[in-house]
């Protein structure tokens, strides 16, 4: 019995010890659970912080994305607008996509039309027909206010708190947009207007950054309009200039054709008249020669004197007819230049020799100063005529004891020949006309010396037929220099 009692006692003691131990364990575990619970609560608090920070970060990111997107769109839009040179095309560049990318759904651009005294709508997106009609009506009724607003050159929006708050409220109701920005389009020249953008998206309200972006866009629009207008102006000016040039060209062409026709007729006329004249002239000259030769018997001195005059004048007339025929032939291209390598010094000396007697008579010093081996490509006979005419003229118009010099100098692919005299010179007003047919300078020498007035014209034709040029430099009382060029021999 005692043993049983002892065992029971020991048992109770053991159980008590175990229970105490278990209780401690439970207590320990409870404290662990409390710690765990506390950790969880703390973690939850941390999670709250994470979530709030994350949301702020996301908002900042959204804002940044919106700005980048806006700038990117603005850049693309500006680039395409600047390449447009037509006013309406500039506005067509603004598409609903661009507006969406800028964070808006609605856009209206209206420009003042000073000719019609009204605002015209150029772009509209996000408005049905009836709404746009209301907007048109509203703008028309308030055009004076908008013209005033344009002068102020400031952007207004649903976030600005300006004195025109009533205006902003009206814009919100007429343009049906909770948030809006309206920026003036102000080109330096011509009519301006406004760019309106709006949105009803209350979750992403507009801010100062949007206002800045739309103001830039309106400025870009103004710049593009300026460019287009300038281009239009330049283009129109060019068009009218081109039209004028075409008109004048056509007038000149027809005048030239007429002149060519007249010239041809003149040449034909001269040619046929000259031919017709040559035959009777030959007869007159022939009969005069027979009479002078005394083959038909002696005649009184008075008749002979008259006959000699007939003979002389016939010679002059024949000379004139021949020169006219030559000019006509050269002009019409019938006279073929037999071009050869010609020693111009040799030709000049030959002519000087030929006209030496004439020079001596007037005691004129006639000199040739052309380097050896100066070859030109020319028709010998025709060039001789040129020299005879020019040197002959020089001798004719140079007073006694004067000087006539023939010289040459290279001129690019040509040789320039100068015939200088110390004669009376040519009046300035006659310089241009001197090479014209039948033109004779009005001076004392010409009054006393006969001439056809065809010599220099013939010379000009001959030189030009050689693709050369002829000109004269002269001063009244100080002599003249006739210069002409001929192509250098190859």
């Amino acid at each position: 019995m005692q043993i049983v009692a002892i065992i029971c006692f020991v048992g109770i003691v053991v159980i008590s010890i175990v229970l105490v131990y278990k209780l401690d364990k439970i207590k320990e575990q409870g404290s662990s659970i409390d710690k765990l619970k506390k950790s969880l609560d703390e973690m939850d608090e941390q999670a709250k912080l994470i979530v709030r920070t994350d949301m702020e970060l996301n908002k900042a990111q959204e804002e940044l994305d919106k700005k980048i997107r806006g700038l990117f769109t603005l850049q693309g839009l500006s680039r395409s607008m600047m390449t447009s040179l037509e006013e309406n095309q500039i506005f067509r560049m603004i598409t609903p996509e661009h507006i969406h990318e800028l964070g808006f759904e609605k856009v209206v651009a209206f420009l003042w039309n000073s000719a019609q005294k009204r605002f015209d709508i150029h772009v509209r997106t996000g408005y049905p027909e009836e709404e746009i009609n209301d907007i048109k009506k509203y703008i028309e009724e308030n055009k004076d206010d908008y013209l005033e607003l344009m002068k102020k050159a400031t952007t207004i929006s649903s976030i600005t708190r300006s004195k025109e708050l009533s205006l902003e409220n009206r814009i919100t109701s007429v343009f049906k947009a909770t948030f809006f920005i309206m920026s003036p389009i102000l080109p330096k020249e011509g009519d301006g207007g406004f760019l309106f953008v709006g949105t009803d998206d209350t979750e992403t309200p507009i801010n100062e950054g949007d206002e800045e972006l739309i103001t830039i866009l309106a400025n870009q629009l103004a710049q593009a309009l300026e460019n287009a207008r300038l281009f239009d102006k330049t283009w129109k000016a060019q068009q009218s200039l081109e039209e004028k040039v075409a008109e004048r060209t056509s007038e000149l062409t027809s005048a030239l054709k007429e002149l060519q026709l007249v010239s041809k007729r003149k040449n034909d006329f001269i040619s046929s008249v000259s031919h017709e004249l040559r035959t009777p002239l030959t007869s007159i000259k022939g009969y005069a020669a027979i009479l002078l030769a005394g083959k038909l018997g002696e005649m009184p001195a008075e008749i002979r004197q008259r006959l000699e005059k007939i003979n002389k004048h016939s010679d002059e007339l024949a000379h004139m007819v021949n020169e006219l025929l030559d000019i006509a032939r050269i002009e019409s291209g019938r006279q073929i230049m037999k071009k050869e390598n010609l020693d111009i010094k040799e030709v000049a000396e030959k002519v000087a020799d030929m006209l030496g007697v004439q020079a001596k008579e007037k005691n004129i010093s006639l000199s040739v100063n052309i380097p050896n081996n100066t070859f030109v490509l020319a028709d010998r006979q025709q060039i001789e005529r040129v020299f005879i005419n020019l040197v002959g003229n020089a001798l004719k118009f140079t007073p006694e004891k004067g000087k006539v010099a023939i010289s040459s100098q290279p001129a690019n692919e040509a040789v320039q020949v100068d015939i200088t005299d110390s004669g009376c010179g040519i009046p300035e007003n006659a310089l241009d006309a001197i090479f014209e047919e039948f033109y004779r300078v009005d001076n004392a020498v010409n009054e006393g010396v006969k001439g056809t007035g065809l010599g220099l014209s013939l010379v000009k034709h001959v030189v030009e037929a050689h693709e050369g040029k002829i000109w004269v430099k002269s001063k009244l009382g100080s002599g003249s220099t006739f210069s002409f060029t001929l192509p250098k021999a190859g």
Partner: protein, 398 residues
């Protein structure tokens, strides 16, 4: 090849011209092969009946057209088109079968009954043929999308694999559209059921991570949570964001996308996401999908990196299912939330998928207001569920 797919894409803003451009590209690739099915995805701003008229005029054969509109579409080139459409012309070999059907007036019929109606119509054409999987396109504004899917499952089989997405819009019109043969429909759903000699693979992931303490739904009904841990449900958001209900409502769009509720699923890698649609005066939270009572939930947080990584995992899951066999066509149902979160990186997500499944594999898709796909763990017996914020990928091949 048992399935031939030719794709065409257009970014033209004119619906008719866009359709013609895309059809020209697709038809050129397909040549003279017969066309059995035309899948069409358009951006919501391009939705127009003339697109369907153009398709039917262009394709002389009597081709079935099946599609949806979304805030953006996914093109074969790996682009996300906010203005555009993508067309897929499919040609099947004789031993591949499919049946299509649609149900309208879902709100009036209730989602659950409408789901059953669609299930019945879809199984009707498959009396003696084994059904392999279904593709579901539904209106993005169905009140309880989970109830609709459950109705459908009751008729097609609880473990019958269903993949799909809900049409979406820019959240302004509050109207989404589906394409079914000659009609543009809303408050509707349309389905395709496939069977025969073809393979398929499904992958679904979201990438959102749990944050904070696990909580329990103590009172809920369908898609509404009344109480969490015996307190008004809104308190969870009030506490986490340090905002009152009115402030929370102002931030609802952001919260819905970035911080959804995740339902813990035993055996699954990821939580099942539910995004918040509305907070009512009493503090009840209204979600797009069902939120069963006694579910363990947590607040979720997502990042761009985890999103893109989830897309890669979903694509790898699809590839694993195919066991090296050729994939002929890939359909992507990608959540609008991901599109909003990823923004400029949205195309990176698509290109990640293309990188896994092969650059040359034809791909088409659109952004959705909810996705349908099966859960794979044994606990859920492969049953299809309604998901939020996820990317569902379906690959088919011969």
């Amino acid at each position: 090849m048992p399935i031939n797919v030719a794709l065409g894409t257009s970014e033209n803003h004119d619906p008719v011209q866009a359709a013609v451009e895309a059809l020209n590209q697709a038809k050129e690739k397909l040549g003279s092969q017969k066309i059995d099915l035309c899948i069409l995805f358009t951006s919501s701003n391009l939705t127009h009946p003339n697109i369907l008229k153009t398709i039917h005029n262009y394709l002389t054969e009597d081709v079935q057209v099946y599609g949806a509109s979304g805030i953006a579409v996914i093109s074969n080139e790996g682009k996300t088109l906010r203005y555009g459409l993508t067309v897929a012309l499919l040609s099947f070999s004789e031993n591949i079968y499919f049946n299509s059907a649609f149900v309208s007036d879902i709100s009036a019929k209730t989602p659950s009954i409408a789901g059953e109606e669609l299930g019945e119509k879809l199984s009707f054409g498959f009396k003696n043929i084994r059904r392999d999987f279904g593709v579901l396109l539904s209106d993005g504004y169905i009140y309880d999308a989970s109830a609709f899917l459950n109705g459908l499952k009751r008729r097609l089989g609880l473990s019958f694999p269903i993949v799909g997405g809900c049409a979406s819009d820019n959240l302004k019109l509050h109207k989404t559209f589906l394409y079914y043969n000659n009609a543009i429909i809303n408050d509707s759903a349309c389905g395709l059921v496939f069977g025969g000699k073809l393979n398929f693979g499904i992958g679904i992931k979201h990438g959102w991570k749990p944050l904070g303490k696990m909580r329990s739904i103590t009172s809920s009904n369908a898609n509404v949570i009344y109480e969490i841990d015996n307190q008004p449900a809104a308190k969870i958001y009030e506490e986490y964001f340090s905002m009152n209900i009115n402030q929370l409502r102002k931030e609802l769009k952001r919260i819905s996308i970035l911080y959804p509720i995740g339902i813990f699923l035993e055996g699954e890698d990821e939580y099942l996401l539910r995004n918040l649609l509305y907070i009512d005066e009493s503090g009840a939270l209204i979600f797009q999908g069902s939120v069963p009572e006694q579910s363990s939930i947590r607040l979720m947080i997502g990042t761009k990196e985890s999103c893109i990584d989830a897309a890669r995992q979903a694509a790898e899951e699809v590839k694993k299912n195919f066991l090296g066999r050729t994939i002929n066509f890939v359909l992507v149902f990608d959540s609008v939330s991901r599109y909003t979160l990823l923004r400029r990186e949205a195309e990176e997500e698509i290109n990640t998928i293309k990188g896994v499944l092969g650059k040359e594999t034809p791909i088409a898709g659109f952004y959705t207001f909810g996705e349908q796909a099966p859960l794979k763990s044994i606990n859920y017996q492969g049953q299809s569920h309604f998901h939020n914020q996820s990317i569902a990928i379906l690959a088919i091949g011969g």
